[in-house]
Amino acid sequence: MGLISSTHSMSRYHIEGQFEATVMDEVRKGLIENAIPKIENEYEELSAGWTPYESPYNPDFEKFPFIFGTYFLFSLRIDKKSIPAKLIQKHMALAIEKKKEESGRDFLAKNEKAEIKEMILDVLMHKTPSIPNIYDVLWSYEDKNLFLFSTQKAANEIFETLFLKSFNLKPIRLFPYTIVETKSKFSAPEKDRVLSLSPLKYVKENHA
């Protein structure tokens, strides 16, 4: 669920580092160079890239904006082909049967089965369409905050890799430890005290 929806699910990042050249140009360049390809690669299981917020299926950053006030807003699109296991199973059974008939043998060797599986996956991958998933990205460059409207581990990992590749800035996922590291004004000794904390148990014996 994206930015303009009634409910949101999101994870947060702190963006480490800054651009040396003009910020807008760097962001534009990163988005264009890593936009999702317009034409789907029929053999690729997974394809991911940026697309404009207002145009998820036409990744044209010259035509659609990515700057809104002081924020950058765009989307991560992940196109994934997924072949149901039962479909693979069915095609495997048919192909094995056919091969046995052709060869006049009762069994197939392990490597023959592996070859058949590879061939079937190839054919099915080619035939299966990709399912697109879109996750909005809201980036407040000035204060180094970024929201990714996803809490799915796989999407977050793809985002982190693609973001670093596109902008050469490291997105640090915000959770208890990294909030202390990136958002606090704690001194070094105070941070050391945080690091040395161990879990509490609110059990009766703690009661003074």
Binding site: I4, M10, E54, F68, P176, V194, L200
Partner: protein, 177 residues
């Protein structure tokens, strides 16, 4: 900075302790605006779900989930007495005069799910869309800033010299009566 994956797992407990502390603040009518030194009033209420976990020591865990708009929290308080901590909390957070946010926060990741912000005007034109985006961004940054500030206040107390005689004792008194 520590390796991210290691740090994530090692300090999960801080997030869970923080959510337990929020419950303590709410139940004891503590002034959240004063704690966070906020310029606007802030109040919080427990929403419609709370999840607690108790590590039983032998790598097994006891998990208690309470759901429902008017669900009683007695089982949660019993779990706290047995040493459980809150791992997931649905909160209703009111800011200023009218702003109301509702969301579920996970202690380990601080992921926010089911987040509802105060409503923004639906857009018709391109200009209105930009206005709506800016408003939404402002609201999201505001609520996350409150969460971060409150969390860091908890950490500040947790590492303070009087934590054991003050903060810890107050929470223990609340839990064990």
């Amino acid at each position: 900075m520590l390796d991210i994956a290691t740090a994530y797992n090692k300090y999960i407990f801080l997030g869970n302790e923080f959510l337990t502390w929020i419950w303590f603040l709410i139940e004891n009518d503590q002034d959240i605006a004063a704690i966070t030194a906020s310029e606007f009033p802030i109040s919080m209420e427990i929403g419609n779900s709370i999840v607690l976990e108790n590590n039983l020591g032998d790598k097994s865990k006891e998990k208690i989930t309470i759901k429902g708009d008017k669900a009683g929290l007695e089982e949660g308080t019993t779990a706290l007495k047995k040493g459980a901590l809150v791992t997931e909390l649905n909160l209703l957070c009111k800011m200023g005069e009218e702003e109301e946010y509702k969301f579920t926060i996970k202690g380990e990741s601080f992921n926010l799910t089911g987040l509802k912000t105060p409503s923004t005007q639906p857009s018709k034109s391109e200009e209105e869309l930009e206005g709506m985006i800016l408003e939404k961004a402002y609201l999201l940054l505001k609520v996350t800033a409150v969460i971060d500030t409150l969390f860091l206040k908890y950490i500040e107390q947790r590492i303070s010299d009087d934590w054991k005689t003050k903060g810890l004792q107050q929470i223990n008194s609340w839990i064990h009566g």
